[in-house]
């Protein structure tokens, strides 16, 4: 096919990638977006077999081995992606990202080998960039994979003098890069690659478990940029566009993720330089809880079939009754089944919740008594506990001696997801800890119930 046609088809693939990212940013279109992206990638891969600088150089050299290699890659990639469990997906993504970075580095190296001394300075710089960043991405991703898979400690690994080792490695990379530019040749480039691999490992080791996803996203953006750079080396616009897209969106995404988790990217990146070994030891003393944002809660609610609100004293203190009804109305309008589970002693006065909810004009029919609602939790996707605590505390069943032992509770733990809206980890009236707060299926949204609910309502409307 002609170069122009090839380029046009490539442009089409690039457009597909843009649409893919756009689609992936909204729950409704995410799946379609991914499929469009896959279509674009397929298109780009197929046409490369039908284009050559001169028509008679078709079919491609080494066609057999190339096809075989693709088959091998597919046979590895697809089953891995198919079989992996939900919880292990992040590490698989890390791994995929790493091999991508590795591939980009290899491509750059091969092209470098081919071009030899004919390469321009610009191409040389792009090559070095690809090799360095690709290798970092490769080894760094492997380490994140090991951490997430718990094949190694998830704690930040910090050894004395670590920061000097890192600084030295970095300096060597810069030095060797100059060496490559000045003298050319295979050896320096290989050394550069090895140093970069080392740097990748050193770079990720000091990152703590919670920050790993952010680092994966960062490495992903890195890989994108290496792809763009190798696109420049190969004069392939598609690679430039695709790589840049990933690099740019990945950067934004990293920032968003860090913001959502309340982390500073700077702090994570230079953690190795600033973290002291002592910090590592104190880590992990408090029991971990899963806290989420209003957006997370909104998404959980949006894709639920049935939601049960469990109001308690905190709802009354926050005077959030109107907001809770607004949320219920919104969900009902989306066709989601909403009920309020009213525990007989919720609040501080018999019928406290009734008074509140009646004020907000919640229809009496939506209020369900404990006996009525408890059997339905098993079919409930989300139990949203709003400023309640004792009335859902499993200690009432499990801890003889607790002041609430023997009291029937709302069995929210049977729901698929439990969300707590409260301000802190403080207990309720009875003053006893609630194990449910630490349950893996529980998400905590901290803050005044009214403010939290308002944020959830906004987030839900923005979906």
């Amino acid at each position: 096919m002609s170069r122009d046609l090839y380029d046009l088809l490539d442009l089409l693939a690039a457009v597909a990638f843009i649409l893919a990212l756009k689609g992936l940013s909204s729950p409704r279109t995410a799946r379609r977006g991914n499929l469009i992206g896959a279509g674009g990638a397929l298109l780009a891969t197929v046409i490369v077999f039908f284009y050559a600088d001169t028509p008679d150089s078709l079919p491609l050299n080494n066609l057999g081995p190339i096809l075989a290699a693709i088959a091998v890659g597919t046979l590895i990639g697809v089953p891995a992606a198919r079989r992996v469990q939900m919880t292990q997906m992040p590490q698989l993504v890390a791994l995929f990202n790493g091999v991508g970075g590795g591939a980009a580095a290899l491509v750059a190296i091969v092209e470098y080998l081919k071009l030899g001394a004919t390469a321009s300075i610009a191409v040389l710089i792009a090559t070095i960039f690809t090799v360095v960043v690709g290798s970092v991405s490769f080894s760094g991703s492997i380490v994140t994979f090991l951490k997430l898979q718990e094949l190694m400690t998830t704690r930040p690994v910090i050894f004395p003098g670590g920061r000097f080792v890192i600084a030295a490695t970095l300096a060597s990379i810069v030095g060797v890069s100059i060496w490559v530019v000045v003298s050319g040749g295979t050896m320096p480039l290989l050394i550069l690659g090895l140093l970069s691999l080392l740097f990748g490992v050193l770079f990720v080791l000091p990152v703590g478990g919670a920050d790993v996803p952010i680092v994966i996203s960062l490495l992903n953006a890195f890989t994108g940029l290496t792809v763009a750079a190798s696109g420049y080396v190969l004069e392939a616009t598609l690679l430039i566009v695709a790589g840049t897209l990933v690099g740019a969106s990945g950067t934004i995404l990293t920032r968003l993720m860090a913001a959502a988790m309340g982390r500073s990217i700077f702090g994570i990146l230079f953690g190795a330089f600033t973290a002291k070994p002592i910090d590592a030891a104190s880590d992990g003393v408090a029991r971990p809880v899963k806290s989420g944002t209003a957006e997370d809660v909104a998404i959980l609610l949006n894709y639920a079939q049935r939601v049960v609100f469990v109001p308690g004293f905190g709802l009354a203190v926050a005077q959030a009754q109107h907001t809770v009804r607004e949320l219920a109305d919104l969900l009902t309008a989306k066709g989601i089944d909403v009920a309020y589970g009213i525990h007989p002693v919720a609040g501080r006065m018999p019928g406290h919740m009734n008074v509140l909810l009646a004020e907000a004009n919640v229809p009496y029919e939506q209020l369900a008594e404990m006996e009525e609602v408890n059997p339905t939790f098993a079919q409930t996707d989300v139990a949203l506990v709003i400023g309640a605590n004792d009335v859902v505390n499993p200690a009432a069943k499990t801890s003889p001696g607790a002041p609430i032992y023997g009291m029937p509770i709302l069995e929210v733990a049977s729901a698929a997801n439990v969300i707590f809206l409260k301000r802190s980890m403080r207990p309720g009236f009875a003053g006893i800890e609630n194990e449910l707060l630490y349950d893996p299926k529980t998400t905590l949204l901290f803050g005044d119930a009214k403010a939290s609910l308002t944020a959830v309502v906004s987030a839900l409307k923005a979906l």
Binding site: I342, P344, V345, P350, G351, N354, V355, A358, L367, E369
Partner: protein, 373 residues
């Protein structure tokens, strides 16, 4: 110009036609006001309070020499005769049942205004004492229903089981009915209501209650009031309402047709479906009653059902009922007051004056009472 406010003598009447606040405003306009000693006592206004704003307190007859007399109930015939000719009286005055009073007023050449005849136009709403007093009655009716009921009004889910909300049915959703709906709803009851006027469905819904739809044509009379039912329609309506009544814990009736006895909405038979402990509040008891067997001013018990018959209901909220009433009266007075000469100047081209002045210049002005208009 001298405005006089006598003591209300009708038993059970606790209101007063002028409150200190508004008396003060009249005095600031340059009028003089005299009030019978103790006239405001039952509604919580002391003589001192009147004195403070410049009202003259009189232990004697306040009517002699008065240019305008403000009262809640119509003046007695004896008192009318003691007024000077040309004097003006403003009060409730049911023309259909007060022929003698009208005649006496006409004979004494007194201009009598009947607040019942203020037309239902937006501009006249500030003088519409029927509305303001119906507001008080409606509020009270719901409170009495709650008070007499052996049940809670709201739903409460407690450790000792769930208390189900009271079912309240309001028949007649005029001013009083709507306010009864509002009050019962506030207390947490599940409220439904029925009325014959076509616009009442929206009005009931606008109070947050549900409307009882019967398969009956609507009835609309003049001036936003209802019309009287034919006996057939009345029977049919009763039949259709029966199941709704049986389901209720509290029934509040407020139906009225101006100038006619109140329609009978509930027969004794219909009440047999009520659970013991149910309550029926009949605000129309004084004008014939919406409920068979209701007696104004009494609670009749029938098979465990309490039937409360309203009597002087606004008087049980005397402070605010007087305040609202006085405002109505003063607004009407201001309409006929020439501010410069400080004299009454009646403009019979004004729809409000024309409709509500029932005697003037020796004539009875209402057709239904035998006069000409």
């Amino acid at each position: 110009m001298r405005i006089a406010v006598p003591v209300e003598t009708k038993p059970g009447e606790a209101r007063v036609a002028l409150v200190p606040d508004l008396a003060g405003k009249l005095i600031k306009q340059g009028l003089s006001v005299v009030i019978a000693a103790g006239a405001g006592f039952k509604s919580g206004f002391t003589d001192t309070a009147y004195q403070e704003v410049g009202v003259e307190i009189s232990a004697d007859d306040v009517l002699a020499n008065a240019d305008v007399v403000l009262s809640v109930q119509p003046l007695e015939i004896a008192n009318l005769k003691s007024l000077k000719p040309g004097a003006v009286t403003i009060s409730f005055l049911p023309v259909n049942s007060s022929f003698e009073i009208l005649q006496a007023g006409a004979d004494a050449r007194i201009t009598q205004f009947s607040l019942e005849l203020i037309p239902r136009i937006s501009r006249a709403q500030s003088m519409d004492a029927l509305t303001s007093q119906a507001l008080c009655a409606g509020y009270k009716a719901a409170l009495i229903g709650a008070e007499l009921s052996p049940r809670f009004f709201p739903l409460l889910m407690t450790a000792a089981g769930t208390v189900t909300p009271a079912q309240v049915l309001v028949l007649g959703a005029g001013v009083a009915g709507l306010q009864a709906i509002a009050t019962a709803k506030r207390l947490g009851a599940v409220v439904s209501a029925y009325d014959v006027r076509p616009s009442s469905k929206d009005e009931v819904i606008s109070m947050g209650a549900s409307f009882v739809e019967l398969e009956l044509e609507a009835l609309e009379g003049a001036g936003g009031y209802a019309r009287e039912m034919t006996p057939e329609r009345a029977a049919k309506q009763r039949e259709l309402l029966t199941p709704y009544i049986s389901k209720s814990d509290v029934v509040i009736t407020t139906a009225a047709v101006p100038g006619k006895p109140a329609p009978l909405l509930i027969t004794t038979e219909m009440m047999s479906g009520l659970k013991p402990g149910s309550v029926v509040v009949d605000l129309a008891a004084e004008s014939g009653g919406n409920v068979a067997g209701s007696v104004a001013g009494q609670i009749v018990e029938l098979n465990g059902v309490k039937i409360w018959g309203g009597k002087d209901v606004p008087s049980s909220l005397p402070f605010h009922a007087s305040q609202l009433y006085a405002k109505n009266v003063v607004n009407l007075l201001n309409l006929m007051l020439d501010l410069e000469s400080k004299q009454i100047r009646l403009d019979f081209d004004d729809e409000i004056i024309a409709a509500s002045a029932v005697t003037h210049d020796g004539q009875i002005r209402v057709e239904s009472a035998g006069g000409k208009k």
